[in-house]
């Protein structure tokens, strides 16, 4: 990897000033994605700003009954926290299906949000990739695209966002707090990642000099009955082919509330609004689940190798909602 300068920021202001002063700099959290990409010569920051000692590692209950998670909370800590396990089991489960125990011990919430795609052509400097080198083309379109997007893709890019945690956050209506020398702003998680369009190199709504400081989970009684289902090629340590984050509230056999998001299907965690709309007030039956899943995936399109994901996503949605009905959040 290219030589770089290393600075450790002791407080948020120092971190923000440092990045504002140097456009090519990058924050480093757990480093589990950034360092790999630097080794691969895909990211080449001139300066790496270590933020791991910033005081952003708390998990606190908020006044309105939600939870605020500091951007530097480690993934394993977040998954194990009693507030998360009891109130947002879908989030705890999602994190625990990701990566490996060692990686989760290192990975931070901020880094997880900003991890980059696992497209094989993005990772190979010899390949054409509009995300890596805008205008160079997309070798995945006619290549190995089994893991690629079926929703919201474009001719320029068919990559997916690989995070599990973010899928749960999308279902939970989380908000991302970001800060820069210009001030603080809040971005809904569902707007944080962008679909590729003609500019797949622009992946998120965050500016280059902004620091993620926290993720906020609103109070969400429905989330108590939630679960995460990840479908993958081996039992652990593989990215999702398709994943489902779901929360369900049923009253008298009718769906009184539902949150649904999909992973592994698009360049962003895919909040399934259409399915939610169909399910609300519908009978809580497999039949309804099937209708909702079909509606959500009506616009899905497959590539040469990933068309199976459309059917897989349908089935995963139905299976996850059905299990919520029978088993609740229990593993």
């Amino acid at each position: 990897m290219k030589d770089f300068a290393y600075v450790r920021a002791g407080d948020v202001t120092t971190a923000l000033r440092a990045i504002a002063a140097e456009p090519g700099a990058a924050f480093i959290g757990g480093g589990t994605n950034l360092v790999d990409l630097m080794r691969q010569d895909i990211e080449r920051p001139g300066t790496v700003i270590d933020i791991t000692t910033l005081p952003l590692d708390e998990i606190e209950e908020t006044a309105d009954g939600g939870v605020r998670v500091g951007a530097l909370v480690r993934n394993s800590h977040l998954a194990a926290h009693p507030l998360i396990r009891t109130r947002y089991p879908v989030l705890s489960q999602a994190i625990l299906t990701g990566a490996s125990a060692q990686l989760r011990n290192m990975a931070t919430v901020g880094g997880n949000l900003l991890q980059r795609t696992r497209c094989l052509y993005f990772y190979d400097g010899a390949a054409a990739c509009n995300k890596r080198r805008p205008g160079s083309g997309c070798d995945a379109l006619e290549g190995f695209n089994r893991n690629h997007a079926i929703l919201g893709a474009s001719d320029a890019c068919v990559a997916t966002h690989p995070s599990d945690m973010c899928v749960a956050l999308a279902a939970l209506d989380a908000t991302v707090e970001v800060e820069s020398v210009r001030g603080t702003r809040r971005i809904p998680l569902v707007d944080f990642h962008r679909l590729p369009g003609d500019t797949p190199d622009v992946e998120t709504a965050i500016a280059a000099d902004e620091l993620v400081t926290a993720v906020e989970l609103p109070a969400s009684p429905i989330a108590v009955n939630s679960r995460y289902r990840k479908v993958r090629d081996r039992a652990s340590y593989a990215f999702a082919l398709v994943s489902v984050a779901a929360a369900l509230e049923v009253r008298d056999g009718t769906v009184a509330g539902v949150r649904l998001a999909l992973g592994g299907v698009a360049a962003k965690p895919w909040r399934a609004r259409e399915a939610e709309r169909i399910l609300l007030d519908a009978p809580a039956t497999e039949e309804s689940f099937r209708r909702a899943a079909a509606a959500e995936l009506a616009s899905a399109t497959g590539l040469s190798q990933n068309a199976f994901k459309i059917e897989l996503a349908r089935r995963a949605i139905v299976a996850t909602l059905s299990r919520l009905l029978t088993d609740g959040s229990a593993a």
């Binding site: 094989l120 052509y121 190979d124 390949a127 090629d233 199976f308």
Partner: protein, 766 residues
């Protein structure tokens, strides 16, 4: 390798105090504490580091190579390209008469040509003061190419496959009767196509070399399965006598066949050390391993079987297409097991090859049988279902008395017993045959079986054994230890043969200055070394006795060896007096006694080679020798998503005498784990547009993780093979064979679906 031969081994079946016991590995402590030093861990003053630049096109000519940027990186010592590299000699031509000529990884004369033969070929080497500087500078070398048309897609090229020619070691085709006619006439038949993708070894230790020149003498630290091959190959390439080269390889962090040939990294490290005049270390990146070390060929196979209503096979046809690189690689014995497993009336096997502009394929655990048993054993299961027969019963009806293809005698064959043992431990009788009939909650449950099969090999091994006056024993043989427990097993054998404590025996191996040992391959190393070691121990005891008999004071005076027992550190009459070796040596005033089996002198090597070939051919005429076994598995399939998880495994093996119950079980279990990967998840993604491997890393090449592996019950029959030293048959490879078929058959039992294309990923079951 110089071919030298052990004398015929003593009678087998002499199971002793130690042979068979689950003794801990002698190097376990060193490995777990980090004291064991691997090839990339040898410190040298002034050590420099090298990194490779790989081509990004499959075929072409380098038109420009821009190295200034790399050379400008602080700490860079040299950027070596075809424009400035010193000349090397081309790879020696391959010949079965000189086995070390098989060591050639590819025929490309690296950096001595501007031609590119595969996507990933090294086109430059950067040498620097640090590994980081070398790796970074390597990314700054800019290469332009004139591209040539390249043939890189296996599937597209398959129709152009050409029949494989037979040679002394491998046979490309064989037949008995008219199998096609018998197939056409069979009342019940299947005719099926199976495909398997490329696989890569993924040993935990990436290939690494440390090379040090001292004038015209060269020392190489290298994790290898064949120190002698590395030595001889480097001697040929660098034009120096083999005697000037020492290859040291005491620890190898896994290999699975991938460290048998000599690949670019080794040669270019030696070159870099010569160019810079510094000791140089190169540890390949994981990507570098994928791009420069061959993998297992993909395959397309046809298996057609015909049977009568009585369930007796009348026809067995197995044909295969595999790939070789235009620059190297060899055929795989994909149809090997199909010549030996079933008593079919007519048999036809035929192997064909396509030549591609890709890196050479190479051997990988059970080359041939691992993928060949997948096709054969899955087809057998399909036919059993068509016949409405239990798949084990069907196999038992077709179990041969003699080798089916040529009527030779089996040296040892206990497949029936293996099935009986396995079925009992697995609980096969609880299985209901109807597909989809077994469930556990929401999971579909399936149970499958398949036969395991791997021929047994024995290669020459030169050995010396020295017994010292302090009662210790030193065994020296240049064999190899990649984690199998070879040194431990040989120490057990020597301790039993000489009647000394296990702790008294030290085994030296993994060094080309030692008597030439066998390569670690073909599951033949333990047997090969054991044969010579037993002969040496016998010789040593004779010499000891002779020494004792010279003295009037010895209680052994007038005794003959076959009336004595080696125990308690000496030779004893039963019952009655005897003497320790230490006492014999002390009386004779000798510090030690040493014997040798085989010789590394020029003449000795030639005699050895002739003996080996004679024995090899004689054995092959007389017997069919192999390990076999029965693989039983249970899978669970998620009915919604098609995810397959293996939930139970029993492997029952006929591997003759087991030398060390612990390390043998680890070998068999490891093979099964690797087979589970092959069945469910492993696949090297070679882009058919440009021959580039797109998943060169452990993140995207899916070997099984712990969560994929159930408890594995490994058992064996323990019955010695009378034709093998101590009755042992190798255990390194048979474990992987049959695994993928057992899983495919279990998946069918669970779902009613037949997947004939590996890996069995969930999309194939939706």
């Amino acid at each position: 390798m110089t071919l030298t031969q052990a004398q015929s081994p003593p009678r087998p079946g002499a199971s002793g105090r130690l042979v068979g016991k689950p003794i801990d590995r002698v190097d376990g402590g060193a490995k777990t504490s980090g004291a064991a030093r691997y090839a990339a861990e040898y410190p040298y003053p002034g050590l420099a580091y090298a990194a490779l630049v790989h081509s990004t096109v499959a075929r072409g000519r380098i038109t420009g190579i821009e190295t200034a940027g790399a050379a400008a990186v602080p700490g860079v010592l040299a950027v070596i390209t075809h424009e400035n590299a010193p000349a090397m000699k081309p790879a020696p031509p391959m010949s079965v008469l000189n086995l070390s000529s098989l060591a050639t990884g590819t025929r490309v004369n690296y950096l001595n040509t501007d031609e590119v033969h595969w996507n990933g070929q090294p086109v430059a080497v950067v040498v620097a003061e640090t590994q980081d500087a070398a790796l970074h500078a390597a990314t700054l070398v800019r290469v332009t190419y004139e591209e040539f048309a390249a043939t890189v897609g296996f599937t597209a090229e398959e129709p152009n496959a050409k029949p494989q020619k037979s040679d002394m070691l491998q046979s490309g085709s064989a037949s008995k009767g008219d199998a096609e006619a018998a197939l056409a006439a069979a009342p019940v038949s299947v005719d099926l196509r199976f495909t398997t993708p490329q696989h890569n070894h993924n040993a935990i230790e990436p290939h690494a070399t440390t090379a040090v020149w001292d004038g015209d003498r060269l020392t190489v630290h290298e994790g290898t399965q064949n120190v002698a091959w590395v030595r001889d190959h480097l001697a040929a390439r660098f034009g120096i006598p083999a005697g000037s080269i020492r290859v040291i390889s005491p620890y190898v962090g896994g290999a699975f066949g991938g460290k048998t040939m000599v690949w670019a990294g080794t040669i270019l490290t030696v070159l870099a050390a010569r160019v810079t005049g510094r000791p140089v270390r190169m540890m390949l990146t994981r990507e570098g391993v994928y791009r420069t070390v061959g993998g297992r060929t993909p395959s397309a196979q046809r298996v057609a079987l015909g049977a009568g209503a009585d369930g007796r096979l009348t026809s067995l046809i197995h044909t295969s297409v595999t790939q070789v690189g235009r620059v190297g690689g060899g055929p795989e014995q994909v149809t090997s097991q199909s010549r030996h497993l079933y008593d079919a009336g007519a048999i036809l096997v035929r192997q064909s090859l396509v030549e591609l502009d890709t890196l050479s394929n190479t051997i990988m655990r059970a080359p041939g049988e691992s993928i060949g048993t997948f096709a054969l054993e899955a087809a057998v299961d399909e036919l059993a279902y068509k016949l409405d027969l239990d798949p084990i019963e069907f196999r038992m009806r077709n179990e041969p008395e003699r080798n089916p293809i040529d009527g030779k005698r089996f040296a040892h064959r206990m497949l029936r017993e293996a099935y009986a043992l396995g079925a009992e431990r697995f609980g096969w009788s609880a299985r209901t045959p109807e597909p989809g009939s077994m469930r556990d909650g929401r999971w579909l449950v399936g149970m499958g079986v398949a036969s395991a099969y791997h021929p047994s090999w024995q290669l020459p091994a030169n050995v010396t054994v020295r017994l010292s006056a302090d009662g210790t024993v030193l065994v020296r043989c240049g064999f190899h230890e990649m984690g199998m427990g070879g040194a431990t097993a040989q120490a057990q054998i020597a301790a039993d043969a000489l009647g000394v404590p296990f702790e008294a025996v030290r085994v030296e191996y993994g060094d080309s200055v030692l008597p030439t040992g066998p390569g670690a391959g073909g599951s033949g190393q333990t047997a090969s070394v054991a044969a010579s070691l037993l002969t040496a121990c016998e010789k040593l005891k004779r010499s000891m006795l002779a020494l004792a008999r010279r003295s009037s004071g010895s209680p052994l005076r007038g005794r003959r060896l076959n009336g004595l027992r080696a125990r308690d550190g000496g030779l004893w009459t039963e019952p009655g007096p005897g003497e320790t070796y230490a006492a014999i040596l002390a009386r004779a005033g000798r510090p030690h006694l040493e014997v040798a089996v085989g010789s590394d002198t020029r003449v000795g090597a030639m005699v050895g080679q002739a003996r080996f070939m004679a024995k090899f051919l004689r054995d092959r005429r007389r017997w069919m020798k192999a390990a076999c076994g029965a693989q039983f598995c249970e899978v669970r399939v998620d009915p919604d998503t098609g995810e397959v998880r293996v939930s139970r495994w029993v492997g029952a093996f006929d591997v003759g005498t087991v030398i060390n119950a612990k390390t043998a079980a680890a070998q068999l279990r490891g093979g099964i784990v690797m087979g589970i990967g092959m069945a469910l998840s492993e696949e090297t993604l070679v882009d058919p547009r440009n021959g580039r491997i797109m998943n060169p890393g452990l993140g995207e090449y899916h070997v099984p993780v712990h969560a994929d592996i159930p408890p594995i019950d490994v058992c064996y029959l323990g019955d010695p093979d009378p034709t093998m030293p101590l009755g042992l048959i190798g255990v390194g490879e048979v474990g992987i064979t049959g695994v993928a078929a057992a899983i495919a058959n279990a998946v069918h039992h669970a779902t009613g679906r037949r997947v004939r294309d590996l890996p069995i990923t969930l999309d194939k079951l939706l």
